[in-house]
Amino acid sequence: MHDEIDPRSPVPLYEQIAARVRVAVAAEEYRAGDALPSVRQLSSTLRVNPSTVVQAYRDLERDGFVETRHGAGTYVRAVAAEVREEERIRRARELVRKLLAEAARFGIGAAEIGRALAEETGVASHE
C-alpha cells in the first residue's frame, strides 16, 4: 500500500503518508491494535527521509489515529465509526475535486460528469 506516495505532488510526503494510513483505518484495512511499520522499515521501503515518517506518525498520533508505545512501536487506535465515516467523506470529496479539475481541462462540466457517473455506477439518471 505504501507504494502510493507521489514525490511529484506538492502535497508534502509526510502528509501523503499520514493520509494513506488514515484511509487504511477508514477502510478498516487497519484495525485497532495493528502495528504500523517501524520508522526505519517504512523509510527504507519508501526510500524517504526517516524524519518524514516520524512527522507523519506524529500527526497521526495528534489526530488520535495511532499511539506510540515507547520502545515498542506505533499502533492503530480504536477509531469511532463516525471518524471513519468522516474520513471516507473527506476522501470522496478529494477524488471528486480531482476529477472535476481534470474534466475542466477538456471543457467538460459537472452535469456531464454527473451523467457519466450515474451511468457507470448503474444508477438511472433523472432527466
Binding site: 511529484r8 526505519r40 527521509n49
Partner: protein
C-alpha cells in the same frame, strides 16, 4: 548546536575556465541535504574543498563545528566520505580494505560491516580492482557507514549503478540515518533519486549557488500554467514568471514562482483562460532554476 556544515563566501579558482564564486551553504544537523547541479557545476570541487583536499582561495568552512582546514583531523574522525571515484587501492582484497579502514576509524563497527558485506554479497578474497562497478559502489558505501559517522558526505554515490544496486545502497544509508539521526550531504545530478529523500536542497550552477531551500518550500510555489490565448501585456503579474513558451501541443505554457490559486484572476483580467495548473517535479524545478539563473547572469 552548530550546523553540520557551514560554508561562507567560499571561493576557488582553477585557471581561467573554472571558479567557485562566493559559495555559501548551511546544512542543518539531522537533515538529508541534496547538493544538485549539472555535470561540471563544481560539486566535486566544492566537496574536495570542504574536506581540505583542495586548497581554497577564500571563505570559511566549518564541519560539525570544526574549523577547516585547521581542525581537519577532528572533523574527519566523525565524517564518512564516499568520493566520486573509488579511493581504495585496487590491489587490496575486500578483506584487506575492511581491515585497513577499521584501523583508521576508532568507532568502526566490525559486526555491522560484516553484516553489510554479506548483504551486499561482496566476496572477501576479491581484489578491489576486480570488483564490478556495482560491487565497488556498495563497498564504498559500506566503508563510509561502518565507521559510524555523524556526517556523511557522498559525492555521486550511485552514479553509474544499476537500479537494484542503487536501491541496496540507499536503503542501507536510510537505515543508518533512522538509527542514528546522522546528517547526510549527498551530491547528485540524478534528481529523481533525491526527490523522496532530501529535506533540504542546494543547487549549484557554474560555480555559484542558485538556490538553497527546504524541499517542500522549493516545490510548493513553482507551477506550470497552461493557457488558451496569450495574456495581453500591460498588467503586472502577482507572481514571478520564470519562463514562457509553448508545449509540445503548441499550448501557451508559463512556469511561475510564488503561485497561489486565487492568482487565476490575473489571467481572467488579461484576457486568457487557465486550462491547467501543473505541479512540477524536482527535476523540472531544477531545470527551471538553472534556466532562470543563467538568464540573470547573461
Amino acid at each position: 548546536m552548530s550546523e553540520a556544515i557551514e560554508v561562507r563566501g567560499l571561493s576557488y579558482r582553477a585557471g581561467r575556465s573554472f571558479e567557485l564564486r562566493d559559495v555559501s551553504l548551511t546544512v542543518p544537523r539531522g537533515s538529508i541535504y541534496g547538493f544538485l547541479g549539472p555535470n561540471g557545476a563544481g560539486k566535486t570541487t566544492t566537496i574536495r574543498v570542504l574536506l581540505g583536499m583542495t586548497r581554497r582561495d577564500g571563505g570559511d568552512v566549518r564541519l560539525l563545528g570544526h574549523s577547516i582546514p585547521g581542525e581537519l583531523p577532528g572533523a574527519l574522525a566523525r565524517i564518512g566520505y564516499v568520493p566520486e571515484r573509488p579511493h581504495v587501492y585496487p590491489s587490496l582484497t575486500v578483506a584487506d580494505a575492511l581491515r585497513c579502514h577499521a584501523a583508521f576509524h576508532h568507532r568502526w563497527d566490525g559486526v555491522w560491516a560484516e553484516q553489510l558485506r554479506r548483504q551486499f554479497e561482496l566476496p572477501l578474497d576479491r581484489r578491489v580492482g576486480r570488483l564490478s562497478k556495482g560491487e565497488s559502489g556498495k563497498l564504498l558505501m559500506l566503508l563510509a557507514l561502518a565507521q559510524r559517522p555523524e556526517l556523511l558526505i557522498l559525492d555521486e554515490p550511485t552514479d553509474g549503478l544499476d537500479p537494484m544496486v542503487r536501491r541496496d545502497v540507499l536503503t542501507a544509508l536510510l537505515d543508518y540515518v533512522s538509527e542514528t539521526g546522522a546528517t547526510v550531504f549527498i551530491s547528485s545530478h540524478l534528481v529523481h533519486e533525491l526527490e523522496r529523500m532530501c529535506s533540504w536542497v542546494g543547487v549549484l550552477d557554474h560555480g555559484r549557488m542558485v538556490a538553497e531551500l527546504p524541499i517542500d518550500v522549493l516545490k510548493s510555489g513553482i507551477k506550470k500554467i497552461r493557457l488558451t490565448d496569450t495574456p495581453v501585456n500591460g498588467h503586472h503579474p502577482p507572481f514571478e514568471v520564470l519562463s514562457r513558451g509553448r508545449d509540445a501541443f503548441e499550448t501557451e505554457t508559463w512556469v511561475v514562482r510564488g503561485w497561489s490559486d486565487p492568482m487565476v484572476q490575473y489571467f481572467d483580467t488579461a484576457g486568457a483562460t487557465v486550462r491547467e495548473v501543473v505541479d512540477l517535479d524536482l527535476e523540472e524545478v531544477f531545470v527551471e532554476l538553472l534556466r532562470s539563473g543563467r538568464e540573470v547572469t547573461s
